[in-house]
Symmetry: C2
Subunit: 199 residues, 2 copies
């Protein structure tokens, strides 16, 4: 780690990394849109909440303001091309579901358009909007979660390793690599370490 | 991707993934603390801003409220053990710099305690605090950025691949795996694709 000690100051910028890459869905199920965002994060545990930041100029900004709802669709490796495409094209110019061949389904709780092929759906209801500058921050309650059955074992335990999720790092999409540890491994006893190593 | 289509509803929870794992530093440089957070994200581009969510009960919560500043230290694979340790131990009970052997340095702009071994430092100044429930959301301006010289080439271009960053996915720490594409690759011309493939 000594190789990182010598530093150089740069102009302040958005250097936090890695960040998620998610496809956010919005609008009516009859006229849905998809926008890819990396400025997204969990902000509260109880109740579960997340935030997304969207530029005012984006087509989806108006749709989310209007309905007060949006969907977060997690991105697996097989959806990487579609994710990039939905981040560089505007829903003003084309129907992104049609252009990508992705399947639109209405979510069970809030009837938000969702991407059927995504491994995890989060139904979000906007609680507050903060104008920060270039972006508006939408803080939302997570009111519904649907997970692919193929990620669950017979007991209903979710194994997110099977979701093959994508991370975004400084302009590039990455697969997740090797597992380095689990939460608490630095103070775990030998028994726990042995049991976890088997999974 | 068909394997993800069949879904099952779960109790709403914080399912957004992957998320960053960062070591947040706070307090006086003479009595500094480190807290590991995954509830962190970029929230604005111009001016550059990020947010972190911290439980009120955490020792660092009071320190950040008092100074109005904190540091974000990005986490490379070589810091994974220390990152986990700083997420499960409290600064009320021990000096985490001493316990981990990490080196504390004062940041150039705001004199925030930073972790010398981290590849990237972000100096943050709190703009607003929102009480959301279990967590308080600290929205902050990024007023200083320092990057390890070993991540830069002779022109000063930063290569974040060399930072070996860690992502957090549903309770586990991961390395970043293979590069799946770059922002805009889905609509890039042949020339661009060819040039990028060489890097």
């Amino acid at each position: 780690m000594q190789r990182f000690v010598q530093k150089q100051a740069l102009k302040p910028s958005t250097f936090l990394s890695p960040v998620p890459a998610v496809m956010v869905t919005c609008g009516d199920p009859e006229k849905p849109n998809i926008i890819t965002l990396a400025w997204a994060g969990t902000v509260n545990s109880e109740p579960p909440m997340l935030s997304i930041s969207v530029r005012k100029s984006r087509y989806s900004h108006g749709l989310i303001k209007k309905t007060g709802t949006f969907g977060v669709n997690l991105v697996s490796q097989g959806l990487c091309w579609e994710t990039d495409f939905c981040g560089v094209k505007s829903g003003r110019d084309l129907d992104k579901f049609q252009a990508t061949g992705l399947t639109c389904v209405a979510s069970p709780t809030l009837k938000i358009p969702m991407i059927a092929e995504s491994p995890v759906h989060l139904e979000c209801k906007v609680r507050q909007v903060l104008e920060l500058g270039s972006h508006d921050l939408f803080i939302a309650d997570i009111v519904g979660v649907q997970v692919a059955k193929s990620l669950m074992d017979h007991k209903g335990t979710v194994d997110m390793r099977k979701a093959d999720l994508v991370a975004y790092n400084h302009g590039e999409y990455y697969s997740l690599g090797k597992i380095l540890g689990f939460f608490g491994y630095s103070i775990a006893g030998k028994d726990v370490l042995k049991r976890r190593r088997r999974t």
